[in-house]
Amino acid sequence: MGSNLLNIWRRGLHTSSSRWQVFQTTTPTKRICIVGAGPAGFYAAQQLLKKLDDCVVDVLEKLPVPFGLVRFGVAPDHPEVKNVINTFTKTAEHPRLRYFGNVSLGVDVTLQDLRDRYHAVLLTYGADQDRELELENERQGNVISARSFVAWYNGLPGAENLSPDLSGRDVTIVGQGNVAVDVARMLLSPLDTLKTTDTTEYALEALSRSQVERVHLVGRRGPLQAAFTIKELREMIKLPNVDIRWRSNDFSGIEEQLEKLQRPRKRLTELMLKSLKDQGKASVAGFKQFLPIFLRAPKAIAPSEMEFSVTELQQESAVATSATERLPSDLILRSIGYKSSCVDSGINFDARKGNVRNSEGRVLKDETSGKVDPGLYVAGWLGTGPTGVILTTMSGAFAVAKNICDDIASKALDTSSAKPGFEADDKQIITWDGWKRIDAFETEAGKAKGKPREKIVNIEEMLRIAGA
């Protein structure tokens, strides 16, 4: 008792600077692990590093190379969109960020292991699966997903052997989102405009032999529900040597509704109506055709055609009627949305929706209680579902990062004990310097061909160059 009092008295005699030292040694570094080096991961990291000056952020990426859909999703003829890579690179080169490429959650490390090693784990590994039509014959050879087609021309490792059959005249894309339009543009663009992009060499070669002349872009609902954005449509309208053919029936009654629309929807609809008015009576000889088709729901798949139900709109939903239409379809591209996969059994995953159950980025404990699982977070498409442009993902990731900071401040998240962070075992880890070697190699390889880069597609080759 007496010695205790003495100790307290002695402690009181310590100078403020020594007390500060004691305080510092008892406040361990806050360790946060981000799984997935795409836009959501980098934007969250940027925010965490800014708001928490005593944190270390480790980013784990399944592939050796970073940037997720900015590298593997954004269309090659949209290089400006990829300028965000400069911001991400600044974040990656922050002294308190460590990049671990070639580490796969659920394969090389378990979620439980990460949770033991970090105060917080933020899952941002995106959406790598696609929604299916759930039709018979969907597995037949002429049906592929737009996601895998995008992965193919963008050089995602594992997608290089897709060999889409471009020997037929008609392609039908089911879905009308921006991915669907990207795919249509890649199929219809003059090859010369793609040659100066970072489209993979094997895709350019296959596209050079393409016999595709008509691309149908089919949606269940009407023009007022079209999912593509106006920039993407304007590009299609401006595409050289491509005739855009709308169906005037699809637009009956649309002009009358213009006035009550919000500006974005109004401008998009006006552009469609203008394009419809501008289209000639007959198609232009020698031009390829882009054919947006509304109010058709997928019904059946046959070897070289696809059957659709004619739909009617009821409160903005498409309801199938008994009428049907068949479209010639040598190749069918399914583009009705992405979904995420569950890579570790410790993740509270909603298989039906294809995302992680969460409340504002805080992962929920289970399906029903609504209770938060402290220390586990989700951002980007894995949490929100696959919608929105990069701005959407950015705002969302910033908000989740803010929630992590708030939880640390309110002690909802316990950061009192030290955590070791990730330690690599035998597997080859790609550091940021390793990525920079890959980047330099790709850029150099592209130079000779007048391309911004020639992507390396083979993982072994990536590892070899990174390790050099």
Binding site: V81, I230, K231, P264, L391, S395, G396, A399, K402
Partner: protein, 152 residues
């Protein structure tokens, strides 16, 4: 002239912004020497929570240049670096100022603005606005992204 962060910043942030300020001061100063005073245009960015950030550029700079050159603390601003492929440099003008802008927004700019949060009739993309001397003293509002709104 200087980046002045107002209110509600923790002391360490204040120290950091002081360092930033001196950095910017020297940068602005060095170009300022070569420039005549009449080429300097002062701009104030007003955050959703009312914070005002003063910065300056020179005639011919875009508002995005002003944000970048002064390291104005606006998260995610200018993601596509002024290439009209995103809407992260969305700014809202006062009606008077908006009407005085010499160039009306083109289709491509409007296309991007259509994807912005809190779109108004006086919204523009900062990368498309070129400073002229008569803009000196301009005040523009920065829309609250989800992030800013919650931080406010």
């Amino acid at each position: 002239m200087l980046v002045i962060n107002t209110c509600k910043i923790a002391s360490r942030l204040a120290i950091r912004s002081l360092q930033l300020r001196s950095l910017n001061a020297s940068r602005t100063f060095s170009t300022g020497l070569a420039l005549k005073q009449k080429d300097v245009v002062n701009v104030t960015f007003v955050r959703a929570n009312g914070d005002k950030i003063k910065a300056s550029g020179k005639v011919g700079d875009s508002l995005l240049d002003v944000v970048v050159n002064n390291s104005v603390d606006l998260d995610g601003f200018g993601a596509c670096e002024g290439t009209l492929t995103c809407s992260t440099c969305h700014l809202i003008f006062k009606t008077n100022d908006y009407e005085k802008l010499p160039d009306k927004p083109g289709d491509e700019e409007l296309d991007m603005l259509d994807l912005a949060y809190e779109l108004t009739d006086t919204s523009r993309l900062g990368c498309q606005i070129t400073l002229s001397k008569d803009m000196d003293g301009l005040e523009v509002h920065v829309p609250s992204t989800i992030n800013d709104a919650r931080a406010a």
